[in-house]
């Protein structure tokens, strides 16, 4: 007879196990592969190798690795059970501000799997991959048209990698002008994504923080005060991380250029303005575009992303390899930086081709008109949420028009004994993924809501009604709903302090008790 599975202990209020298995109906517990797999089990049948004399020298492995295997049915069950412990955009509204959780069309998944794209090797002869190069060039053309910029570097693997690419181009341009020794400061507003200062620091720049005005935006006057002959560039997000359009962006660009610096625009929030305004018209020099946000390539539980960078005329010569150029009737991938001003190579191959296919499919499906509509609907939805909650929640910079996301703070919770974190966890019990919390840092107890254009009005209305109900509970002191939350998720609150104090980052075989 089998004992109760030992690894799960869901207890009822009186401390007794709720079920024999630890499962609760469809909510099923699942051990690690290391606890259910066997070294001699496999889910792949492979023909025996041909008998040959080995050419491994003395480097053949002698000891076992310790990797467990599962047969195919066991594998399916393991991962299907794991998947059911995740929230997803397909299952519900996912209002993570600054992350853009919008619908991921399945046609894009299908197209990315065409063997003419998915089964191409990055180093096979270019004559056998002309369709792939054409696809990349078409994507680059769309990105340049949407931004009114003069070049596109496709290879960056994600947004932060794109930032690195843009700032490397800027650093190279400064070096070409012989100003490396003097221009070593990058201006960054307080509300910036953490990647901005991290990128600047990686490239040896020091960071000078630009304060925001009381309305949450950066004033050209504050930029002028921070500018000097030592400034290499400004890194500014527009719309910014508070969900606000940087009203003085054109003047800021002029001021930075007058002072001999470059303007790096963090394009994370391009999804608010694609098809409505072009960043090139703001006067920027470089901007990365998160294809996984604006152009809806799936987030995949944290990647892979893709972060192509568009560049102005004066930065274009410094773009990384590889890049595509026309050579007669054919397209050629230029992979050799020598003899050019290109700053070099960012990654082994040509970038996230699988994401290029999906992003371009998304663009073609929308068309120029559809992309503008997507931006507008996203801005409309965020403002609808703002207008529907402004009487119960507070905004750090007053009630004003926002872009694709709306920022609330926790002033309205003061005295209620409920924190932003509690409020977010209570949303989980209501079947919602929480909004982004505690970012940006400029708002106390920040709650950043980005509903996206993918939500119907009925969906937004229920979401709004739920938040209003929760807000009333919080103000009424219904503490249980918050401090105990989540109660109905696969897990209650997880002890992050324990995880950080005693890091356990891999499974280890338990020593047998003697």
């Amino acid at each position: 007879m089998l004992d109760r599975p030992a690894l799960v202990e869901p207890l009822d209020d009186d401390g007794t196990p709720a079920t024999f298995t630890g499962n609760r109906g469809l909510d099923q517990e699942e051990p690690l592969i290391f606890e259910i797999g066997r070294l001699d089990a496999t889910g792949v049948d492979i023909d025996a190798p041909a008998p040959v004399s080995n050419r491994l020298g003395a480097l053949e492995r002698a000891a076992p690795i310790g990797l467990p295997g599962l047969t195919e049915p066991e594998t399916m069950r393991h991962y299907v059970r794991l998947s059911r412990k995740n929230y997803s955009i397909d299952a519900g509204l996912y209002p993570l501000g600054s992350c853009t959780m919008k619908h991921n069309p399945r046609s894009n998944e299908k197209i990315a799997r065409y063997e003419g794209f998915a089964d191409l090797h990055p180093l096979q002869p270019q004559s056998t991959a002309q369709g792939a190069l054409e696809l990349m060039q078409t994507l680059a053309d769309w990105l340049m048209t949407l931004t009114n910029m003069q070049a596109a570097a496709l290879s960056p693997k994600a947004g932060a990698h794109g930032e690195l690419c843009g700032m490397m181009a800027i650093k190279s341009a400064i070096a070409a002008k012989g100003e490396s020794a003097t221009r070593n400061v990058v201006l960054i507003p307080q509300s910036a994504h953490g990647t901005n200062p991290a990128t600047a620091a990686l490239l040896g720049f020091s960071v000078r923080v630009v304060p925001a005005a009381s309305d949450g935006t950066v004033r050209v006057q504050a930029v002028r005060e921070a500018l000097g002959p030592d400034v290499a560039a400004i890194m500014l997000t527009n719309p910014n991380t508070c969900g606000l359009f940087e009203r003085e962006i054109v003047d800021i660009a002029d001021a930075v250029h007058e002072a001999g610096g470059y303007f790096y625009c963090d394009g994370a929030n391009f999804n608010a303005i694609a098809g409505v305004a072009r960043p090139g018209d703001f006067g920027i020099d470089a901007m990365h575009i998160n294809l996984h946000k604006t152009f809806s390539t799936p987030h995949g539980g944290g990647g892979p992303g893709a972060g192509p960078v568009v560049l102005s005329e004066r930065l274009a010569p410094f773009a990384p390899v590889p890049f595509i150029r026309r050579k007669g009737d054919a397209l050629e991938l230029v992979e050799d930086a020598e003899g050019s001003q290109s700053f070099g190579r960012l990654t082994a191959f040509h970038g996230q081709m699988g994401m290029f296919v999906r992003a371009l499919a998304y663009m073609l499906a929308h068309g120029g008109d559809g992309l503008a509509q997507a931006s507008k609907d996203a801005v409309l939805a965020a403002n609808y949420v703002r207008a529907s909650l402004r009487d119960v929640m507070t905004q750090p910079f007053g009630d004003r028009i926002c872009m694709h996301e709306v920022l609330f703070d926790d002033a309205w919770l003061r005295g209620a004994g409920v924190t932003t974190l509690d409020f977010a966890k209570a949303m989980i019990d209501e079947g919602y993924h929480p909004m982004t919390i505690y970012f940006p840092l400029v708002a106390h107890g920040a709650m950043l809501i980005e509903p996206t254009e993918s939500e119907s009005k009925a969906s937004l209305d229920l979401f709004i009604a739920t938040l209003r109900d929760l807000a009333q509970s919080a103000k009424a002191g219904d503490m249980m709903r918050f401090t105990q939350a989540p109660r109905l998720a696969p897990r209650r609150r997880v002890d992050e302090t324990l995880a950080a104090r005693k890091p356990v980052l891999r499974w280890e075989k338990k020593e047998a008790v003697a």
Binding site: N54, A129, L135, F282, P298, G301, P304, K376, P490, A499
Partner: protein
């Protein structure tokens, strides 16, 4: 538009609630001159059928690996991926979820990352691994930066057997971060005396095995020389399947092991997305870049997983972060995790043996071809051929005969005067017919 649920009536009602007359009024903060007055010069939206037709036509202009005898490697490899892998990674809960910042409703992602980390640590022979990086080349650059932080030195020595594109990535980042790089000459026969170049000014030495030319390298003595000089050994691999048959870098004394995980679970995809593997010693954890999933308990005491040690990361440390990276390659890590679970030790070992045997069979056939020389003493599933004439021209001629024969070294090292070298890979997908086709096309094209 099929992806936009709001109707015109919805929009009007929402605008009324907001109290503005039009959506355009919501863009009032933008300088008026920057708002487009006329639509962009872009095509109108298309139906799903029409979009798919467009891409089918583009796809038809490419020759996929499965449609030809295929021997191209040099950093990305054609392997068979079980159908269940692709099915599982397309489940909504994996495909359309975000980074697991809310652990209570992200245990699926967190548990597979924990499993992935354990698999990578086991495979590389190291104590800990992170939740993946963009790809092998960027993981290598991150390893070098980490070694700089740990040793407080800023000079790296790159082996002449390191993938030239990986070396370029390291040199690009180093030049712009103002760190020093020394690169050994291309080392076709794994004959370089790298140990003689190691001294106490180096933060780390980067060595790849199997190297770009296919040679297997014993890292043991290099590791000893590094440690004697207070430097770290960064070991690199681009073919993860090799670890099923050859000694792990950890066993040979490496301090940081990085590599490309594409071979397990992930398709070729014309270069990306791939999955970078990153493993190291427990003592270096605080300087490790990238995300980490850790074990903990929930309020009921049940075992749970959570992202941890995030104070290393950019969203908290900003300009003091260990890296500017804020993403991993989650779904590719999942594909790796599932495929390796399906294989298990038994399957991986067998897969590696078949790869090796197929490469040996091909090398033996090619040894018989006049005006061609197999240069390798040792190899796993990839080796270097010296051919008469220009290898780049040769592979174009062979491609015209329907055989994708490999990567000319001149494509990776255009200025090294190695135009007669060809890197050839053979995996489990190659059949006897493929090998015969290779030899026939080669003879006709030489």
């Amino acid at each position: 538009m099929r992806y936009h649920p709001l109707s015109e009536a919805d929009r009007r009602a929402m605008l009324a609630t907001i109290g503005v007359p039009s959506i355009d009024a919501l863009y009032a903060d933008a300088p008026p001159a920057t708002l487009l007055k006329t639509p962009l010069d872009l095509p109108k939206g298309r139906s799903e059928l029409d979009v798919e037709r467009f891409f089918s036509r583009l796809a038809e202009r490419n020759l996929p690996a499965s449609r030809a005898p295929f021997f191209v490697g040099a950093g990305a490899y054609k392997h068979h991926i079980p159908a269940s892998v692709d099915h599982l990674i397309q489940r909504s809960e994996f495909l359309t979820s975000y980074t697991p910042y809310q652990p209570e409703i992200s245990q699926g992602t967190l548990q597979y990352l924990f499993e992935f980390q354990t698999q990578v640590a086991l495979l590389t022979g190291m104590e800990v691994a992170n939740a993946s990086m963009y790809d092998g080349s960027t993981a290598t650059a991150e390893a070098v930066l980490m070694a700089h932080r740990l040793t407080r030195r800023r000079k790296v020595l790159l082996s002449g057997g390191l993938h030239p594109h990986y070396a370029e990535v390291v040199r690009t980042v180093s030049r712009l971060a103002e760190d020093e790089v020394e690169t050994m000459a291309p080392d076709i026969r794994a004959a370089e005396d790298i140990i003689a170049r190691i001294d106490d000014t180096l933060s780390c030495v980067v060595v790849q095995t199997p190297d770009i030319f296919g040679n297997l390298r014993d890292l043991t003595k290099i590791a000893e020389a590094c440690h004697w000089n207070g430097a770290l050994l960064v070991a690199v691999f681009t073919e993860a399947v090799s670890l099923g048959l050859v000694k792990s870098p950890g066993e040979m004394g490496a301090d940081i092991v990085v590599g490309e995980g594409q071979s397990i679970g992930n398709g070729l995809n014309f270069g990306g997305p791939y999955v970078g593997l990153f493993a190291t010693r427990h003592e270096f954890l605080r300087q490790t870049p990238g995300r980490l999933a850790g074990e903990s308990v929930d309020a009921d005491g049940r075992r749970s997983y959570v992202l941890t040690l995030s104070t290393r990361e950019q969203h908290i440390r900003r300009d003091k972060a260990t890296s500017n990276i804020c993403t991993n390659s989650g779904l590719c890590a999942l594909a790796f995790n599932i495929h390796l679970t399906l294989l298990g030790e038994e399957g991986l070992t067998r897969l590696a043996r078949v790869n090796h045997a197929n490469a040996v069979l091909l090398a033996e056939l090619l040894a018989e071809v006049p005006r061609v020389e197999v240069l390798n003493e040792t190899f796993f599933n990839e080796f270097t051929l010296r051919v008469e004439g220009d290898a780049a021209e040769l592979i174009e001629k062979m491609a015209a005969r329907g055989v994708l024969a490999g990567v000319p070294v001149s494509r990776l090292l255009p200025h090294a005067d190695l135009d007669d070298l060809l890197i050839v890979a053979s995996t489990e997908v190659n059949t006897n017919e493929d090998r015969d086709a290779f030899v026939a096309a080669l003879k006709e094209s030489l």
